[in-house]
Amino acid sequence: MSAAARVPFRALLAVAGLLGLQACAQPQQAAAPGPRIYAVDVQGRSALCDVPRGVTLAADRPTEATMTMDNDGGWCGIATNRAGPGLVAAKPAHGRLHVRKVGAITRVDYIPDRGFTGTDSFTVKLLPDQAELKVAATVQPSAQTATATTAAAPPAAAAPPPAAPAKRAPAERKGSAARR
């Protein structure tokens, strides 16, 4: 009786597990029909990237936007309501642009030159109607990098002395004894 009771319990556990897996799998199936978003297109964003959300471009006049970001090696992007390719009408003076399709929209990413801080600007036209997006970017020094370098510097400088003398100690003693 007890053995018979154990089997259904295990079966119940297995079924519960399968149901759990199924529950996990269902949202993925539901998300499948939309355009796919690739991990590479959402990784590497700057820690600070202050931009307007979902800029709606107008075909008949330029749309202006501002961008404030940290220069930590990452990008800062403005998502538009267009899905077509972009044409760079005015390049930034202190960085690069990456206009890429992310899911159903086109995102305009700005990557400042390493070490650059200050203001920069660029203009991109998005197809099919060549809707113009003018961006004024403000690039700040990375607070994290500054903190990391100041915090990391003392241990790096402090670490070698304990290790080095311990190994050299016997030889140094011999050497110093011989010299003496």
């Binding site: 590479v40 077509g84 390719p85 044409l87 206009v99 305009v108 030159d113 197809l127």
Partner: protein, 187 residues
């Protein structure tokens, strides 16, 4: 296939090399990238565009071959044939002017390094590479004309920071030329 031969006799062989030398080149690239303060750009805007269009061509070639979409690459080359020929001429002229007699080998080395870097990027993306980057053909073929190609290429960030363009390319070429030339002759 004929289009590959007509426009790119050397790059046609690149994807085979890309797999073998990718890891070595990647290590060198990472070292260079960490040492460089910022990606070098051409002082002349027109020359910068020449490098960007060349990088776009290289990327499309890697996508075409890696993703078995050679016909789409051929269609791109056919559509933009005059522009691509003109661009490659300007590209060669840059190296001829800055590197003199070594211009040809410097051009080849740069093109090789570019394709290897793009190939390495393709490897990093793994199975995502083809579905994601295959869309480049749709985009490039949707452009209004050849005159839009430089503006399109400028927004693709395809020049590796480790390679740069113009000055950096000129400086980087000699060290890599020897290695690539040896590998090329060996096959």
């Amino acid at each position: 296939m004929g289009v590959f031969n007509a426009f790119q006799p050397r790059p046609r062989r690149l994807p085979r090399r890309a797999g073998r030398g990718a890891s070595l080149f990647a290590a060198a690239s990472l070292l260079l990238a960490s040492a460089a303060p910022a990606a070098a750009r051409c002082a002349n805007e027109a020359e910068q565009s020449v490098f960007e269009v060349e990088a776009l061509k290289s990327e499309l070639m890697v996508v075409g071959i890696t993703c078995q979409q050679e016909e789409r690459y051929n269609a791109f080359m056919q559509r933009y044939q005059p522009k691509m020929v003109e661009n490659y001429r300007a590209f060669e002229q840059h190296f001829a002017r800055t590197r003199g007699r070594a211009g040809k080998s410097a051009t080849d080395a740069y093109v090789t390094n570019l394709a290897q870097t793009r190939g390495f990027e393709a490897q990093k993306l793994g199975s995502d590479f083809c579905p994601r980057n295959g869309g480049l053909f749709d985009e490039v073929m949707a452009l209004p004309g050849a005159e839009a190609l430089p503006a399109y290429a400028a927004g693709k960030d395809l020049i590796p920071e480790s390679l740069g363009s113009c000055t950096a390319a000129t400086a980087a070429a000699p060290t890599r030329t020897a290695g690539t030339a040896k590998r090329g002759r060996g096959r």
